[in-house]
């Protein structure tokens, strides 16, 4: 929880609002669910795996 994402926030006098990582992830999951997407562990692992794969040169 002690890692924070600094999110753009024009209302903040710091130029951003720090949000704990846990809350950030919870929000992302909640938004996805509202859009009909239930993010599963399998999807996350697949996503990480595809990010790790070496990119083919064009």
């Amino acid at each position: 929880m002690s890692s924070y994402y600094y999110l753009d926030d024009p209302k903040s006098k710091m130029g951003s609002t720090p949000v704990p990582e846990e809350e950030f992830i919870k929000a992302v999951f909640s938004i996805a669910r509202k859009h009909g997407l239930d993010i599963t562990d399998e999807m996350i692992l697949k996503e990480i795996d595809s990010e790790l794969k070496p990119k083919r040169k064009r």
């Binding site: 002690s2 600094y6 710091m14 130029g15 720090p18 704990p20 990010e51």
Partner: protein
Amino acid sequence: MKLTRDELHLNLKGKTAVFIDWANVYGWNSRKQKPVNPDKLYKYFKSYEEVLDILFYFGEDTHPKSKLFLEEIRKIGFNIITKPVKYIPVNIDSSHFKSISKEIKAALVSNKKLETTDIEQILKILDRKILRRKCDFDIEIAMDVYRLINTRETFIFLSGDGDFAPLIRFLASKKKKVIVIFGEGHLGKEVAQIGKQVFLCSAKNIPAISDGA
């Protein structure tokens, strides 16, 4: 300004250091808790003669307001510990976004209603990496605790973060007094479960540190 501390007097034992994890404190604002005011916070701790260090931890980014804020904090008198926030790239043109991105690009290129410059602009945005800013000060706080452990008797943490539990236990095992000041609803169960080794204090019981006090 001399503060009256009749609402809550912290019973400090010997030389004291205060650690403020501002990212945590900033999130305390709620219906039950007015925003913590940095100026009032500093004056509150300064009113205790035992307090020798008031350490303020917060990340710095490129936004001009960020620099101004930290400058303001420095002027108040805090000892600031800062570092640049990390920029983590999130590319929408990668992995499973790739197919969506490809479809959008194809649709754009075939769209006769859009100007070429508009299409180029949108394609540019699609190719741009989205950066997320991230920062934490756990290690810095732990290192400062370690630096001060032989010369301070009381350690005050402004953060209810459960990740601090091992550090609090360690300090208690060294016979140090530990006080955790937390926002309502922002106390990690790991800290709440420590028991008698730590003195827990809700920030709402110290109105002198908040706006509107």
